[in-house]
Every structure is written in C-alpha cells, then in structure tokens.
C-alpha cells in the first residue's frame, strides 16, 4: 500500500492507516477517496495535487 503527501503542509495519507478522524477506515485505498477530497489539514491541495510518497511491498 502507498502513502500520499500533501505538497503544501506535509499531511500524509497512508492507505494502511486510513484517516480515522475524517472517516476513512484503515486500508481505504487512495482511489476510493472521494473525487472532491481536499487536504484535511490545509484544505489547499486537491486530490490530484498529492504526490505518491513510497511503495511498501504489498
């Protein structure tokens, strides 16, 4: 699974962890986040602005 980094504020969405506060269960893949997803911390970065950070061995 991968992690996705907000280029503005450094927020990281890790697919294995999800984001409990925002209601994304652990294991929720990036592709399943809503299309209008914006960074939960800075609200500046749209989904397509995030960069994939690393690939753990799946």
């Amino acid at each position: 699974m991968s992690a996705y980094l907000c280029p503005e504020c450094g927020y990281v969405y890790e697919e294995t962890l999800g984001d409990a506060h925002m209601g994304f269960a652990p294991g929720t893949p990036w592709a399943e986040l809503p299309a209008d997803f914006v960074c939960p911390d800075c609200a500046i970065s749209y989904k397509e602005d995030f960069s994939r950070r690393n690939d753990a061995a799946a």
């Binding site: 503005e8 504020c9 506060h21 209601g23 911390d41 800075c42 609200a43 500046i44």
Partner: protein, 402 residues
C-alpha cells in the same frame, strides 16, 4: 528533506526583531479590562467604559498611520527554526486565560453594577471586542496540527458561542475562498450590512454540513459528541448557563449581544480580507489554486501585533498551517490603506468603502472583470460605472499567464 538540519544550524544567524514585541498580542486584548477597572478603582465615571472602544477605533488606526508598515520578512531558511521555537506557541497559550478572565470580568461587571443603558452598551462593545481577539486566537491555533492547540482553539471559541468556526474556517473557507460559493468572501458592490446576512448563517450551515458528512463516513450520528461543533457548544452552554444562574435572567440579552458583537468582529475581518477578489474557474470545474493576489493585506505594524499577523493574509492562505511568526509580506499584493481596525471603521460607511476600495480592487485585478467576484445584482451597473469590458477568452488567458 533537510529542513531539520537547517533548523538546528540557521537560527543563530537570524534574529527575529519582533520576537519580544509579540507580547503586545497579549496586552492589546486586555484593553476591555481597562473600563471596568478604572470605574471600580479610580472613579465611577461612565466615560471610562468607552475607553476600549475609543482605543480600537481611533487610537489603533492612528498608531497604524504613524508607526506605519513593516516589510521585514524572515528568510525562508530560518522558517523551520521559527516554527519549531516553542516561545511563540507559549504566547498564544498565555492569551487563552487572559481572554477568559477579560470576558468574565466584563460580564460580571455588567451583572453586578447599576449602570444606565449606555454604560451597559459600552461594556458590551468592549467585551465583544475581547471575543473578536478570541476568534483571532482560535483562528491561529485552530490551523495547527497538535491536539493541544486544536482543543485550546475550541475552548477559546466557546467563549463567544462560535465553536463552529473551527470546522467552517479550516475545511470550508480555505477551500472555497475568493469564489462565489464562499459565504465568508465578500463581493464587489456588497456592503457589510448585506454581507453579514450571508456570512453568519452561511458559515454555520457549511460547518454543519461538513461535520455531518464527516461523521456519516465515520458511521456516527451528527448529534454525537464527536461532532466538533457540538463539543465547543457544550462548553458555551455550561459557561453561559452558569453566568445566567448567578447573575440573573436579564443577562441573557446582554450575553447574546456580546456574542453577536464578537462574531461581527469576524464578519468585519472576512469582509475586508477578500473583497471582490475571484479565483478563476478552470475547465475541469475546479478553481485555480488560491494565489497571493486573492487576499487583501495590511502590513501595519501595530495592528499586526494585536492580531498575530492575520493581516499578512496572502501568505496565510498560501500556507494555512504556517505559524504567525513566519508569515511573510510580498511586494505587489493587494494592499489595504490602513490596518484592519481602520478598515472596519470605513466599512461601516458603505459609500466611503466603495469609493476607497473599488478603485484599489480594479487596480489589483488589472480591470479584468473575470477576476472580480461581483455582487450579481450589481454586476451590470458596476461594469458600466467603471467602463469595464468582458475580455475575450484568448487574450484573457494570455493576460493571466503574463
């Protein structure tokens, strides 16, 4: 990433001249205490009670005009060190109890002194100002990522019954800023008296919808204690309930008026921060990223001390999680002629506001109507009045790229 290495090497070279001056941020919000304290301990003269209001509306704008602007910026490589320095955080923490005490003293003063209506009004306005500083502090801390700062933000916003701001601002306003969809961005031709009817309810319902959506994903009811609007609201209910229980039912309208005047401080700030500026909609329906030219700025030294650099608003919207001490000024930004306090006063007189700001707005957007957020009903009249023409699409795009 070598930012941590930079943080340990560079601060020795850079000295923040404003470091200790940030303590002004603790002093200015104490101003509401002056009226009741002078009245109780010097002489029971009602004029004392108007001192805080006089200070906000006359002294601060004059100090801004005299002391002037501050163009200094921390160098970018000193920013990680500044952000990591806990001193700046402690200043914001220290303001939380100051604001609570200031608010409580004002309310208890009204509840226990025999004052004529205009004496009560003076203290209501001063206490509302205290709540305004609370909204500013809640704003600064609510943007941060630590649990402590987020909770302190809620505790501070609860003072003015305005806890939903925490949700509304971070996840709503910053996403929609400078677009017609944003109830917290004012439009060209919109007076503050019209704006407040769009801003206050619009902000609340956007916050509620954002929380409903989040809690639905979490599998919880919108009425759960996880609702970040309900959490601070409960603090407010207990606080206001205790005050009414001790001071009497007649305090209900007083508390409501103070809370309204506090919320109106935020309305005023929202009104002047993005007046008429518009992000362009892209072919995919998304708005262009919020750019520095989508916010109005004021670099006036004194009011920035009072407001934790809120007036360096462009950098705040470009980097919302950046701490106040690191916010920067840039040349050629849309610029207000005075600090926020002076601009609030101007906004009370819509024709004066339009006269001063419409000219500046047109200059800021290069007279390009596609970059103006118009009050829809006034669009045609304003286009005619200022001789604006729709720019053809091709030149329009070239103009933006240039």
């Amino acid at each position: 990433m070598n930012s941590s290495a930079l943080a340990s090497e560079l601060p020795s070279e850079y000295v923040d001249h404003k470091r200790h001056l940030w303590l002004f941020s603790l002093l200015v919000p104490c101003i509401a205490l002056i009226g009741p304290l002078m009245y109780l301990f010097v002489s029971p003269k009602l004029l004392w009670l108007w001192l805080p209001t006089l200070f906000s509306y006359l002294v601060i704008p004059v100090l801004d005009a005299i002391i002037g602007e501050d163009r200094s910026n921390p160098p970018e490589d000193a920013v990680p060190g500044l952000e990591a320095d806990p001193y700046y955080r402690y200043v914001t923490f220290a303001l939380v109890p100051i604001l609570w005490v200031s608010f409580l003293v004002s309310v208890v003063f009204i509840g226990t002194q025999d004052l004529p209506w205009h004496g009560v009004l003076a203290v209501i306005i001063a206490a509302g100002g205290t709540l305004g500083y609370g909204l500013n502090l809640g704003h600064e801390m609510g943007h941060k990522k630590t649990t402590l700062e987020r909770w302190l933000a809620k505790v501070t916003l609860a003072l003015g019954f305005y806890g939903h701001f925490f949700v509304e601002h971070n996840r709503g306003h910053h996403r929609d800023v400078a677009t017609p969809a944003d109830p917290a961005s004012s439009r060209m031709g919109e007076s503050i008296y019209r704006f407040v009817f769009r801003e206050m309810p619009g902000a609340f319902f956007r916050a509620w919808d954002l929380e409903a959506e989040r809690l639905d994903r979490c599998g919880k009811s919108v009425w759960s204690l996880q609702n970040e609007i309900i959490q601070p609201a409960l603090i407010s209910i207990v606080l206001y309930g205790v005050l009414v229980a001790f001071l009497g039912l007649e305090m209900i309208p007083v508390l409501l008026l103070i809370a309204f005047w506090g919320a109106f401080q935020l309305t005023q700030a929202n009104y002047i921060e993005h007046y008429g500026l518009l992000r362009k909609q892209q072919p995919n329906g998304r708005y262009e990223r919020c750019q520095p030219y989508h916010s109005w700025n004021s670099n006036h030294l004194f009011s920035n001390w009072a407001l934790f650099h809120l007036q360096r608003h462009s950098d705040h919207h470009a980097h919302p999680t950046r701490r106040y001490q690191s916010l920067r000024d840039f040349p050629d930004l849309p610029r207000l002629p005075n600090g926020y306090f002076g601009m609030y006063l101007i906004a009370y007189f819509p024709s004066l506001w339009f006269k001063i700001m419409d000219k500046r707005l047109l200059e800021a957007v290069n007279r390009d109507p596609s970059r103006i957020n118009f009050e829809p009903a006034k669009r045609e009249r304003l286009m005619r009045q200022y001789g604006l023409e729709e720019v053809a699409k091709v030149t329009d795009d070239a103009g933006v790229a240039a």
